[in-house]
Amino acid sequence: MSAVDLGMPSLPHAPRGVGHLRGDRSFPDAARESLRDGQLRANLGHATSTIRAKRKAVVDEVPDWAELREAGRAIKAATMARLDEHLVALEEQVTARGGTVHWARDAEEANEIVIRLVQATGTDEVVKVKSMATQEIGLNEALEAAGIAAHETDLAELIVQLGEDTPSHILVPAIHKNRAEIREIFLRTMPQFQEQGVDADLTDEPRRLAMAARAHLRERFLRARVAISGANFAVAETGTLAVVESEGNGRMCLTLPRTLITVMGIEKVVPTWRDLEVFLQLLPRSSTGERMNPYTSLWAGVTPGDGPQEFHLVLVDNGRTAVLADEVGRAALHCIRCSACLNVCPVYERAGGHAYGSVYPGPIGAVLSPQLTGVEDNASLPYASSLCGACYDVCPVAIDIPSILVHLRAEHVEAQERTTPEAVAFRALAKAMSTPRLWRLAQRAAGLGRLLSRGKPTLPAALPPPASKWTRTRDLPTPPRETFTQQWVRERGR
């Protein structure tokens, strides 16, 4: 990290061995597998193009979108510039309204705190609202290891949990599953379909599947004593927490149990109540493409006679301060997790969320995950992009993801003394393209590639190494019989 380069003490990254920020394979290896999955690509292509169109329509109808976006960016930058002061103010406000604030250096400590709080209530099960932070720290696994059952209540998260799967998209985590697969998971795992003689005429119509989930969770909501949530925003000035959702499962969790535990990354704080007037406009339109999401819950501490009577807020670092130390990379902490950048990314659309190996996929994942873990642990992610810039254009808080990617690549290359075949190839290519004679030679050599392709439109993946490293995830067009320059010379002379 540049913090090291500047001679500053290095700040700890998210620890290994806990949570979901690292894949077990590199991005190219994982992506190769997804690329072979036609169903996945079809589902993803449909999903991303549908959400893209919806987002565009509702963003275009806002005349002051550019001003909102600029205000969103500026608020986040201002927040990071005084992050310590805002967190202290938030703690003071939450405490003054009857809540308790806990601080967790990393995933492990956060999990310990939550387990201790749940155990203190005497219960062995909790209901959960979809939350990126708790996925990041691997809370469900930690709870399970402590003998506490964690029930996901968001429909997509429920599908993922019952299917013993992992999420593939920030907003629609089960987007890689189609209705028939979901029906099969429900029939196999929901107790209501297990009893003998039960009428299992569940069709794969989305309405019927959603109603099955409603029936499955209704009683759990009513009996739950502890809920665990994340937070979209926390207002330092007033101690107000905000959760944005659609289904009402969030409201169930935030309202019915006696105890509420909210786990939040330290970067989610915003300084003032007014700041929400910006983000509550930017987020829903960018994320689901709606003017406003069906439900937003806001609360400050505890309200007697209304909702949970015990409230805990767990503030998690887990590598965020290391990101903050990098002046260029810091902007990745501005992310409000709308997922607009995933939906416009040509790499995400083809590779899918799982290939990124982290709970944060897509363009934002490519810049956030390696910074949280240290670039050496997610070394292939900064390359998981074509630098086309679409992510920057749609980002509601104007995070310049392509610039951060280039910055991280430079950092990675610097850190890595060893020369990869790819680096050699790129250096050679740059040289060839800058000299006309070499370029013509190279083109003639490429013509040889036609022999390898055996008349097919693309080159085979089975080029000998090291070229195979490049071609196995990329379809290279078969070089033409004749280059443009050759044709020009043949037809018109010099």
Partner: protein
């Protein structure tokens, strides 16, 4: 060192000894609205209907009757006893036979078919109703558990955009922003109304 001290220390290290000044925030977006009330009401109705909410307009002295008719349409003829209302709901808004929420356990609330509440503010541009836990709006569980929610909105409560809406709220109150009935698009992105929250939302707009 406590985790708190350590994290705050890390932030101070990350930001460096000589901190850059806090960048300016330019709020160049719209914060006021010049549109007349009649226009705002039309926008609100359009947005609500777009979310599949049912909207009925009525005059101030017709509220109870309008609410009763709307409930009948949503629940069927013999539904009077099934309706629970917010404790501060004005008497002239209550349908016959409705019971008042007396703080009964949530399980008991879930047995009611419908709820009637007021709102604090309504945002036209986004079709959003805000409930703030005051006696007229009721506690949060009340507008959540029964399957049909009827909200009565008066025209003075309607503002144009989100900034004007938030400016009218108390950030310390338990707030629920409702924009249409509960919905999900998690299965092949097909929108399904009503998952855990009320499947039917009726808005009675008093003009």
């Amino acid at each position: 060192m406590s985790a708190r001290e350590e994290i705050l220390g890390r932030i101070r290290t990350a930001l460096g000894e000589h901190r850059a000044p806090v960048p300016d925030i330019v709020r160049g977006y719209r914060t006021a609205d010049g549109r007349p009330t009649t226009e705002l009401l039309d926008v609100l109705v359009d947005r609500l209907e777009d979310y599949k909410a049912t909207v009925v307009r009525c005059l101030a002295d017709e509220v109870a009757g309008t609410v009763a008719t709307a409930l009948q349409a949503a629940l069927g003829a013999h539904s009077h006893g099934d309706v629970v209302v917010a404790p501060g709901l004005p008497a002239e808004w209550r349908p016959d036979g409705a019971v008042e929420d007396d703080g009964r356990p949530a399980v008991a609330l879930a047995e009611h078919a419908a709820t009637v509440t007021g709102v604090t503010v309504a945002v036209a541009d986004t079709g959003t109703l805000v409930l703030d836990g005051s006696p007229r709006c009721g506690r949060r569980a009340l507008s959540l558990l029964p399957d049909c929610l009827v909200c009565v909105v008066t025209s003075d409560q309607v503002v144009g955009g989100v900034p004007e809406g938030l400016a009218r709220l108390d950030p310390r109150a338990p707030l629920t922003l409702i924009s249409g009935p509960s919905a999900t698009s998690d299965i092949e992105l097909q929108r399904v109304e009503g998952v855990h929250g009320p499947r039917t939302l009726v808005v009675v707009l008093v003009t």
